[in-house]
Structure formats: C-alpha cells, structure tokens
Amino acid sequence: MATTFPTTVARPRRRWHELKHSVNWLYLLPALLFFIGYQLYPLLQVLYISFTDYRYLRPDPPNFVGLENFSNALADPIFWTGLWRAAIFTAIFLPGVIFIPLFVAILVDRVQNATLSTLYRLILLIPAVIPGPMIFVLWRWLYDFEVGPINVILINYLHLFDYRNAPQWVGDSPLTLPAVAIMEWWWGLGYHTMFFLAGLAAIPKELFESARVDGANEWQMFWHVTLPRLRPIFLILVVLRFGSAMAVIDEFLIMGGFNRSMPTYTWTVYMWHLGFQLGDWPQGYAAAIGWIGAISMLVVVAALFYIFRNQD
C-alpha cells in the first residue's frame, strides 16, 4: 500500500530549510558587497572601456569602437614583446617558488624537536613580514653595480671580475629577470614553505610505514607517496604564483623603469605606461591589453587545473 506523507508535515520543514539558507545569504552579504564593489564592478568597468576610445585626460565622453582596441593590441609588437618577457620571467620564477619551499618544508618536517621546528618556521617567515618597498630597496642595493655587496665581494674579495666586466644584475641585462626571481623566491620562501608543511602534515603516516614495510627507500617514498599527496598544494601554488608572476609590475618599475629595451618592460608595465603617462592616457587601449593578457593567463590556468587535477 502506498504511503503518502501528509502535506501539513512537509511544508514547515521546507520553510525552515529555505529560511535557514536565506540567513546564510545574509552572512555572505558583506563579502558579496565587497566582491561586487571592489572586484566585479572594476572588471566590468574595464571591460566596458576596452570597447571604447576612452582617453583619461580628455573631457569628451568615450565612443564605442568595437574590437578596434583588441585588434590594435594583437598587432602591437610592444605588447607581444612584453607578454613574452613576462612569460620568460614566470618560467624562471615558478620552479624556484615550488621546489625550493618544498625542499625546505621536507627538511623542517623532519625536525623532531618541537622548539627547534618552531624556531625554523619563525626564521623562514621573517622575509614575509617585511613590507614590499623595503624588500625592493634592500635588493636594489644588493644588486647595485658599483656599491652593491654582491659585486663588491665578487670584485674585491673573490677577484672573479673587475669593475668593467662585473655582472649587471638589474637594468638592461640578461641577468635581470633571474635576479628579480631570486628576490621573489627569498621573499616568499617562508610563506610557501608553510603551504607545503600543511600539506605534509595531512599525509597519513601509515602510508610511509606501509611503504617502508614494502621496502621503499626515501626517494621512492618521496616520488610515490609525498608528491602525489601534495598535488592539491601544487595546484594552489602554481596557479596563484603563475598569476602573480605574469602580473608583476611594482618590482619591474623599480628595477627597470619605463625603458622599453629593459627585460622588465613587460605587458603590465606597458599597460600602466599607456594608461597613466603616454599622451592623453589611452585607457581604452590599455584596458584591451589588460584583457588580452588576462585571457591568455586564464587559458594557461585552465591547463594547469587539468594537469594538477585530482587523479584519485
């Protein structure tokens, strides 16, 4: 015999369910407002002006120009050179920002003494709490050709170079992008190590014990147990750092300025140069460059999500 629930019982339960979820939305409201106001609205605004001939210094209202900005940007050699430079920097930067913290995390994770382990973590986090401008000033001084300590040691103490052929760490030099990458690795070492330490802590110890019982050595355990379990951490770090590496601007402005021959004159610097310094500040065109760069990055991010997908 079929059983039917009396409807008078179902209605109060559904109402309570709906009421509970609308209260959730209330709690989400501040974050939602922030997202809409500080992220969604600017994105839409930039999208809108990318289809116009908007020039910030001119009082005239912008005119719709369709895809003209996008086609000009795609034909702009300065943009492509800038995008390529950012890609090179990212290719140099990413491996270091992943594998160095991973190595350090494994070492710190092996430390049995709790006090020592905490001390190591604190030391690693020191660069992370130094404000960005101070980091840039510090490393700019370290890399200075004449008075920077690196060249002073190389020339005066190790006698590997003289003042004519000493390395040019920043400026118009092939060493510039690696030099900036090294600065970024150092700056983010503690922060990224914490990511991996959290990931390592989540790996069940029984897996390592089983592997040892099966005769696996340290290297085999690393490849077949540790690395696969850290896949989600890799995904987060690679995606986050890919985005930040491709979009670097502050460091490049400090290390290279607006000279277009510098390897630091990337697509983001070009976008800023256009939007706030050149001519009438053609922000419509700069916005189109920004969107093309962002879409290119999104394509790569999608590929990264696929590569680092959960394969369990």
């Binding site: 020039r55 910030y56 210094l57 001119r58 009082p59 000033v137 700019r140 001084w141 200075d144 050709f145 004449e146 008075v147 003042y163 004519r164 052929n165 000493a166 040019q168 920043v170 400026g171 118009d172 402005l253 400090i254 290390m255 290279g256 300025g257 607006f258 000279n259 277009r260 021959s261 510098m262 706030f276 310094q277 050149l278 001519g279 009438d280 500040w281 053609p282």
Partner: protein, 492 residues
Amino acid sequence: MKRKDEEFLIQELLRSQLRRGEISRRQFLQNMIVAGMGLGGVSVLSSCGGTAPATPAAPAATEEAAAPAAATEEAVAAASGTRPLTPTFYQWIVDLHPGLKAVNESFADLNFQIAPVAGFDVARFVAEGKNKESTWDVYVGMTPFVEMAALIKADVIEPWDNYIPKDVLDDIIPSIREECTVNGKLYSWPFLLDIIVQGYNTSITSKAGLPDTPPADWDEYLANSKAVLDSGAARYGCTFDAHGWRSLCPITHSINTDIYYMLDGDASGVPLYDFTHDDAIAALEIMKQMLDLSSANALQPGTTDGGVNQTPDEVAFAAQQVAYYIKYQNAPLRMAGTWTDPTALRLGALPKAKGGAGSTVFWTTGACLFKWGQNKEKAAEYMKALTYDAQIWKDSIAGSSSGHPGQLPPFLSVNEALQKENADWFQKETWVPLVFEQLKVAKAIPNHAFGLQQFIIGQPIWEKYLKGEVSDPKVAMQEAKDAVAAEVKKAG
C-alpha cells in the same frame, strides 16, 4: 598720468592691501567708491573670493585691470576656502630645502602634505580634477615640459594670472616666464631653477696632471677624460645621466638650439625634438665617445622614481670614481657633499661645440594652482613667501645640514639682491655666476604632451648605437624619431 592709469594704480594698491589683510572687504569697497571705481571694486572682490552680487563687471575703468570675469559660485567659494591652505610638495623638494619649514610656520593653520607623485605620476590629481574636486590647493613640484601639458589638458590646473601680483610676475626671468607660459597664461609659478652644466673633481684631475679649469669644448672634455683614464687617476674619465633630457638634448643645444620640428598632423602646435637633425646626431656621437670613457653601467636605470633618479652617474660621482660629469648643477653639488673634501668640486658651463651655439637646457620646478582647490589668494601669498625667502636661497646655494641642492631662484630681484649683498657665503659659491651666465643662452624643452616621453620612447632606440648594436647613428635616430611620431599619432 591718465585717469585710467591712476585708477589702475589705485586699484592695484587697494587690491594688494586687501590680499595682505591690511583692509577688510568693506573698507576696500568704500575706498574704491571714493576713487570712483565702485563697480570695478565689485568685480575685483569677486576675483578675490568675495561673494559679489550678480552685477556685470564695470566697463572702461577696469578694462585694463587684471580682474577676471565674475567667477562661478563654486570657484568663488573655492577661492576663499573653507579649509586651511593645503599645499602639497614632491618629496625631494622637502628633503633638499629645509628652509621650507620656517616659511610654513609663518602661515597659521597650514595643512602641508607630501604629494603622491613618485615617478612624475599625476594620476591622483587628474582623477580628482575629473570629479571637480581637489584635496590640495597648490602642488609644488611640477616641471613644465614633464607634467604641465597633461594637467592643463585634463583641466586640473588654472593659470596664476588672476592671483600672482604683477610685480612678482614681472620679476620672473623672461626665458623662465616663457617656459611657464601657455597661450599667454602663466601655469607654473617657477620656484627652483636647474641648468645642465659640467662638474669635475679636482682631486682626480690634479692627480691626472690636468689644469683646474673646466674644459671649454667637447674635444677638450673628451681628451681630458681620456687622460684621467690613461693616468689611472680614477676608474672612469667622465659620466652622464643616460636620460635624454639630461644628456642628449643639452649636448645638442651646445651645438644648436634650432633642432625642434612640427610633426605633421600634430594639433598641439608645439614642436618635438628632431632626432634626425645633423646636430642631434653629432650630439649622439659625442655621447658614444663619452660612454667609452664611462662606467659599464652608465646606461642603466636609477633606483627610484621609475628609474629616473638616483642614477648610476650619481653613484659613481659620489664615490669619487669619475672625474668629469654633466648634469643639472644640483647633482654634482649633492654628490660632492659626500666627499671627504667637498671643496674639490668645480662647476662650469657645459662645454661648447666648436662654432656651436654654446647653449644648454634649463628647466624650473614650480607650483601649479589646482582649479578645483581653494584658498587661491592665499596660495599666491604662500608662493610669494617661498619665492622671496632669503634663508631658502642661502641654504640652496651655500648648502645646509640637509645637503647642497644648488638650485637657483628664477626671479631677477632675488638674484640681483644676492649679487648686490655679496655676502661671504655667496662669494664662496663661485659657480653661481658661471651657471647664471649659461641661463642667458640656455633654452627650455618645449611643453609638448610628449615633452618628456619623447626621450623615454627614443632612449632604448638611440642606445642601440651607443651599445654598438647599430653602427650608423642616423639609422638609430631615424628609428627613434619614427617611434615617437607613431606614439604621438596613436595618442591622437
């Protein structure tokens, strides 16, 4: 004296008394009525920020007066101000000129601020101007050929003509007044004067057996620099700032000043630097010879302000690694301040090209008046106080605990007073007359919207010749010219 001239003089006298607070607005009007210029007084009051009734400006009697047309309600309220006078300064001016503090203290309720303008960035000013508002009343730090065109175009600043006293206006050195003027109106109140000169370190040149006189021409300059290098007296013979407005352009001016051209289709009416002019190419060739005698990083960017300041040349000169140096005078003065013996510094006029114009480049750092700011009358009083403050000029010319900026006053009477007084401290600064002599022949870079950017765009291209990547300077300079023209046309 004609009736009109009399009335003008009376009006100006009363107006300056009103500005100085010696008389009230009521007294001003009463005196104007007595002088038979009632409606003219109303008109002038409105320009001084008073709430004038909506009567048209008096004809004839005040036609020749400097009183503007009746201001809008917003501008009238703004001119008088509902907040304290709020000037804002580029950080480096505050760092180099300690005398500002005393002047600031003489203005009650002054809301002094540092401007958010690193790297000549005026985006904040423009953003506020578009909203018809301004956090500040006056900005001190504007260089005409750098930011002025953009600020005028964006309708952020207004001319000083309605507020600057006529005697002050007439006191500006003529070539500087021309630099600061656009369409007949003064948009920059000049404050600090810089001229590209040469400096050298006598402790190095004497070691190299060279005379203690500045090289008169480029051949001598290069020969002396080579002698320094060959003798081992210093690491480098000479150095320069790689930015075009500090090297390529002044060296070109030393040969010829008529090296600007009007770009076809450019509606601005302001000329651009002609990279392909024979004398510009000759200047680039001089730079190449200088680079061979300079440090390996001479073409690298500086460490601050988007690479524009704290440049490698300054480091080398401060470290006493180089003998000869060309830059605006405050650079060698400041760098020599770090030497064990700063008196080893000598300054002189930029070397001439044989048979050339013997000119150089000058620019002023000045103050602009925000259109949407307030306290405009007071801003003019403030700038006047800064302009004629003796301590500021003494500290600048003779140096102080803050450094030795060496920037000169752009006003005739101030310079005349310094020379007339001829104080002991002034006599020691033997470079001042030399630098002033150069001003008589120096020329400013035209105030094009791309006045600065043309050199930033062209620099990586002409440097291909300096670095040996391109063997023909004409090819490099043509490419630089084409690149600038393309950017100007892209800008519309």
